[in-house]
Amino acid sequence: MLARAEQTTSPGDLDAMFAALADPTRRAILVRLTEGEASVMELAEPFTMSQPAISKHLKVLERAGLISRHREGQRRPCRVRPERLDQLTQWLESYRKLCEANFQQLDTLLAALQSPSDRIVSEQADANTHAGSD
């Protein structure tokens, strides 16, 4: 798993991706592009930002490999590269799952601490070291 990840993405790539995603405008652009490809003009519309400013953001996204641009006659529409986004999302998601599993243990503890009857049960369970408690 790790070997595969290393083959396809270098740490430098990942840095570029995270840096690109650190900006709210760029995240909004990506969200827009997940709905379908769009031109710079179309992307600039919802933002109170000039086209050159948007173009600058697009360059950062393109360098990070998160979007690609191709020529269609006069237009140069942008599209997301889902495979790259997926990879980043996967790492954060794996990390998230581990946190969540841990926090679910905390949920259980907090519930026990707030219920007087459960409190006695959980304290007994503690004393018995892992007696079958839910």
């Binding site: 798993m1 790492w91 954060l92 998601e93 990390y95 581990l98 841990n102 243990q105 503890l109 907090l110």
Partner: protein, 160 residues
């Protein structure tokens, strides 16, 4: 009110990650669960593999040290430790954090912020790594869909 008590993890800037989670408990209780050894040992990392708690020491004051130690049945130990830089019950702690035996990885700075609303407590936790490289290495080390082992436990511990 909302029942969406799921963890969110996002990349924050260049060398941090942010973890948010809602808990159905008052602020003070959540704060205690993060800072009292007898409570910490009842949830943190307790569901991973065959690691169990060996010791848990917390000197909860500015400049005070903490050290969590886990071990496997064969006696193998692992630990994380650090120093509190800021202790503001029941809303905030800032502490350094290092993994035992991974000194080259460097020191992390963990900020825990708690906000109570409608009887629920929102946890916002910022883990600031010493460098972008350290953060990205830490994130990439999470092996997905694999049995949690040493590395994955590290990941979980890094978050708490």
């Amino acid at each position: 009110m909302s029942d969406t008590r799921t963890t969110e993890v996002t990349a924050l800037g260049e060398q941090s990650i942010r973890i948010t989670r809602r808990f159905n408990a008052p602020q003070q209780l959540v704060f205690d669960a993060f800072t009292k050894p007898e409570l910490i040992q009842r949830w943190m990392g307790s569901n991973f593999g065959d690691w169990s708690w060996a010791s848990c020491d917390v000197d909860l004051r500015e400049g005070g040290a903490y050290r969590y130690v886990w071990q496997q049945p064969d006696g193998t130990q692992m630990a994380i430790s650090g120093t509190y830089r800021e202790v503001t019950p029941p809303t905030r702690t800032v502490s350094t954090q290092v993994y035992d035996g991974m000194t080259d990885f460097g020191e992390m700075l963990v900020t825990i912020m708690l906000t109570e609303r409608d009887g629920e407590t929102l946890l916002e936790e910022i883990v600031q790594y010493p460098s972008r490289e350290a953060r990205d290495t830490d994130l990439q080390q999470v092996p997905e869909g694999r049995e949690p082992g040493f590395a994955t436990l590290d990941q979980v511990l890094a978050s708490v």
